[in-house]
Amino acid sequence: MITRFLTDVRVKFNPFSPRAKPARLFLSLIPPNARADGMKVETKMLPRTSTEPATLDVKFKDGKELKLELDKMRIPEVMEEVDRHSRILARKEELTGN
């Protein structure tokens, strides 16, 4: 997954729900020094009894926000959604030669 264009990641999930798996796996895909390089990662743990769906809010470097409901997605689909915009940003960066 391309994570260098992400500035802000907010994840909310109930760990006791089996549908929280993609949310947790997404967090484990963030590289080890991403937080030191300025990415903000906020995790909110819902109580055990809550039935709220797991959500993921991502902000990109160009200001675009992406909101995903993770409870019906699998982790490859989540990665695909996030990478779609990241690839555009990567191409732009390549063309401007930075």
Binding site: P15, F16, P32, R35
Partner: protein, 341 residues
């Protein structure tokens, strides 16, 4: 090339052993004299021989591989630690692990020293371990621990030592050296595997067991130690504050802080029951631990006792007063009626 004829030595031997074969001369006297020793299978009381090393009963999966040994280790961890905290770790570096473990160890040593000063027992600081686990093997070990409950003892089918047919008085389980044996009761046996692979049985902890996990194991449910661990690894200000910067400056090193950001407390397993992070904090917030709880209970029961005697007395007292009042009333009436006659 001569034709290939499959040689079957067992079949040949059977044929030659038959006394009716014409080539073999039979001696009647000798045939009656020699009685062949009965095979082990036919005798009712075979000499009890342990057919495997006592510490290595045959296992379902090959015992020499790392997976099997991890499975065994996790089973013993789950059985021996009544309190387990589950964390998810997201790409924590080795240096960060090292510094978090160092901080945890120093904080727990302080608790130990405090308990020694107060004359309390149960110093478990050096037995509290923070370890990364292999999630799938841990999940499997958890299923074995929760669902495989061999009731009967392995020694139940042992030959009795006073039986005259047994040549030894040693009590040796009569299990054969094959994993199919139903009588094994260790966690790696085939029966344990069959019980644990029943998908209809669901354990409460199952949804938590995915992704990268780490566990903190406690050899005893001690809220004091739990509180320390929570305030170090998952600090939350009102009840579990992180240590002050002046008291422990090493806690605020960048390695520790960046490592802690990547750890998430998912839940806990306390005495076989599953708690979420709020429940875990509740367990950690019990003042004074088990002794404190006992003191609270004693205090409450004393209060209940006093109130109970008061209530019971009150009922009888009010009855006494009512009856007494009625008696007085009737006596007065009788007195009043007598002069009227």
């Amino acid at each position: 090339m001569p034709p290939r004829i499959r040689l079957r030595p067992r079949a040949l031997r059977l044929r030659t052993a038959q006394p009716s074969s014409p080539l073999c001369a039979s001696y009647a006297s000798l045939a009656t004299a020699t009685t062949p020793a009965p095979s082990i299978d036919t005798t009712s009381a075979a000499p009890p021989v342990l057919r495997y090393p006592p510490t290595q009963p045959p296992s379902h999966k090959p015992p020499e591989v790392r997976k099997t040994q991890l499975h065994r280790t996790y089973q013993s961890v789950l059985k021996s630690s009544p309190l387990i905290l589950l964390f998810q770790h997201n790409n924590v570096k080795a240096v960060e692990w090292m510094s978090i473990r160092r901080e945890l160890a120093t904080a727990l040593q302080k608790i130990d020293a405090e308990r020694v000063k107060n004359g309390q027992e149960g110093l478990i600081a050096d037995q509290i371990k923070f370890q990364v686990i292999t999630t799938s093997i841990f999940a499997s070990a958890l299923r074995v621990v929760e669902f495989f409950k061999p009731e009967e003892n392995t020694m139940d089918h042992v030959q009795h030592p006073t039986d005259p047919r047994t040549p030894t008085s040693a009590q040796i389980p009569q299990t054969s050296n094959s994993p199919e044996d139903e009588r094994f009761k260790h966690g790696l046996s085939r029966r344990a595997w069959e019980v644990a692979s029943n998908r209809k049985l669901k354990s409460e902890l199952e949804p938590l067991l995915s992704g990268p996990l780490a566990i903190v194991t406690f050899p005893d449910v001690s809220p004091q130690y739990l509180k320390t661990v929570l305030s170090i690894v998952a600090p939350s200000p009102p009840n579990f504050p992180a240590p002050r910067r002046k008291a422990t400056p090493s806690y605020y090193e960048p390695e520790v802080q960046s490592g802690l950001q990547k750890l998430m407390l998912l839940g806990a397993r306390v005495e076989g029951k599953v708690f979420d992070s709020e429940g875990t904090k509740w367990v950690g917030g019990i003042d004074g631990g088990l002794d404190g709880l006992r003191a609270q209970l004693v205090h409450m029961l004393q209060g209940v006792g006093g109130a109970l005697t008061g209530t019971l007395e009150g009922a009888s007292k009010s009855l006494y007063f009512t009856v007494e009042g009625r008696r007085m009333d009737m006596e007065e009436k009788e007195k009043g009626e007598k002069p009227a006659e």
